[in-house]
């Protein structure tokens, strides 16, 4: 062995970085083996079916071209469980998967997509957590969008990362990341992990840059599915509570107005994208540290007329509160809550303070139109 040989050997020995192994490599290989067997079996079955079909079906079609085409095809049942990840221990290393090849990110043929919110650290506030959302209609569109994701990480302007550059990730604090679990009738579920800071989507083997429009499309589809499958007669708003703790209205309170509608909404500039079924308004007068219920109104007829007013109040430029900021906050003495339920069955809550000053929580501005709505529901509030 020459000195050159020794040098080359030394270079090669030191060149290999630490390589992460999958949690269960035998399982990964086993899945490939099963896929191979199915492909082989499928090919053989397809050949037999084609032969039989040509031999039997073609003459039948020729003999009776106008006959009924039979019952519509039913959606086959998906295999495996749509198990949402509960942490990141099973997520592949974002830098170890393969980016930029021309293979699809996920196989076609999925019949169900479940969106999972995987908590980062302790996750979001309990009131803002949402369970798995499963989409069974329009799944093909989601698969198409996933496979149309950019081949590599993109910068904020949508430009691909220059070849050879390391993956760049921002450090924005996130409470959760979204994972999509796709289920198939003929294969095990595939999990797509998205990462908001690194702007990538990865499966166990492949990675893409991610345009979060695919999540928006999922939410739009999911809302439409909910609206189509929810009986309006079952949609309702919660009744007014007899008391309301004033500390919830303090600036920076973590227990602010809750919008479950927002969790399924892809449009940040439209608070209420789905028609309203019912609204409930409650009026409270404060005694001590507690608001006590002094008026209430629940309305279903014409409920959707409130939607445009609320959307307008969200779309207005934010106005500073006339109630002062922390720690010089003036506690309210009279306020209303407005809770709406939409056709998806979800609800959203908004708070309107009247005394000692006017302000709104859950919207950007307290508009005259919104004050008119509250007056219509609960009577004229005291004016300053």
């Amino acid at each position: 062995m020459t000195r050159d040989d020794e040098d080359i050997r030394g270079l090669l020995a030191g060149a290999v970085p630490p390589l992460a192994a999958p949690p269960d490599r035998v399982a990964e290989v086993g899945v490939r083996v099963r896929r191979h067997r199915r492909r082989m079996a499928g090919g053989a079955a397809a050949a037999v079916a084609l032969t039989v079909g040509l031999g039997v079906g073609l003459p039948t079609l020729v003999a009776a071209p106008d006959r009924d085409r039979g019952a519509p095809a039913t959606t086959p049942s998906p295999q495996g469980a749509a198990a949402c990840p509960t942490g990141f221990d099973t997520r592949p290393d974002l830098t170890s998967v393969r980016y930029g090849d021309d293979e699809p990110l996920v196989p076609t043929g999925a019949v169900e997509v479940t969106s999972c919110q995987v908590p980062v650290g302790s996750g979001p506030h309990p009131a803002s957590r949402i369970g798995p959302r499963t989409l069974t209609t329009g799944v093909d569109e989601i698969v198409r969008l996933l496979n149309a994701q950019p081949p590599t990480q993109q910068d904020g302007r949508g430009r691909p990362l220059p070849a050879g550059e390391q993956m760049m990730c921002t450090a924005k604090a996130t409470y959760e990341e979204t994972a999509l679990v796709l289920r198939y009738p003929d294969r095990e579920p595939v999990t797509v992990w998205t990462d908001e800071n690194c702007r990538v989507a990865v499966t166990a083997t492949h990675g893409r840059g991610v345009d979060f429009g695919v999540i928006a499309a999922f939410l739009d589809r999911y809302r439409a599915q909910l609206a189509a499958t929810t009986d309006p007669a079952t949609v309702t708003t919660p009744a007014c509570a007899d008391t309301f703790p004033v500390k919830r209205m303090r600036k920076n309170s973590e227990d602010g107005p809750l919008s479950r509608i927002r969790l399924n909404n892809s449009d940040p500039y439209l608070a209420l994208p789905t028609p309203l079924i019912e609204v409930t308004a409650c009026r409270y007068e404060v005694r001590g540290q507690t608001g006590e219920l002094v008026g209430q109104q629940r309305r279903r007829a014409g409920a959707d007329e409130v939607r445009a007013v609320l959307n307008q109040a969200l779309d207005r430029p934010a106005k500073s509160s006339r109630c002062g900021d922390w720690p010089d906050y003036e506690e309210p003495t009279l306020f209303d809550t407005l809770t709406v339920a939409d056709a998806t069955g979800e609800t959203a809550e908004f708070w309107i303070r009247h005394e000692p000053c006017r302000s709104v929580n859950g919207l950007e501005a307290l508009t005259p139109e919104l004050l008119d709505v509250m007056t219509d529901l609960l009577g004229r509030p005291p004016s300053r």
Binding site: V16, A20, V26, D102
Partner: protein, 175 residues
Amino acid sequence: MTDRYPAPPEGFADFVAARSGALLRSAWLLTGDAGRAEDLLQTVLTTAWRRWPTVVAAGHPEAYLRRALFTTYVSWWRRRWRTEFPAATPPDNTGPGDLARESADRDAVRRALARLSRQQRAIVVLRYAEDLSVERTAQVLGCSPNTVKVQSSRALRSLRTDPDLSLFTNREVVP
């Protein structure tokens, strides 16, 4: 039998546990990419799984796997990786020490190997990372010993003059 995949043949899981680390390192030297290396390794393990009784009966499972690894790598370029985008360089997960220097060194070797032909790269890895003789290298790749010698000589010449590797080999450069 698990729900997700068939039970592996007897001895397969033990073999994977014992030898896949070394095979994965070879796969990385061939591909220069952790994801591709794992893909390459799993591809040849899949083939071995399906033929495991035959592989074991031949007496040298690791030799079979190693040959499959290299021949699959050499043959793959036409089918899979030819149009592939250059992947972003993954940050190395290094331990304490001069992290930037270690990472740069690794990257230099990776780039230098990438400039070799696939056959030359396979020969270099077999000869200098796997310590195989010329004859054994020829057997693994299914070519003549003379081809190994010629291609090995060309590969070494290329590495000696590679600009990225001059930091390491300049004391060895023969004018």
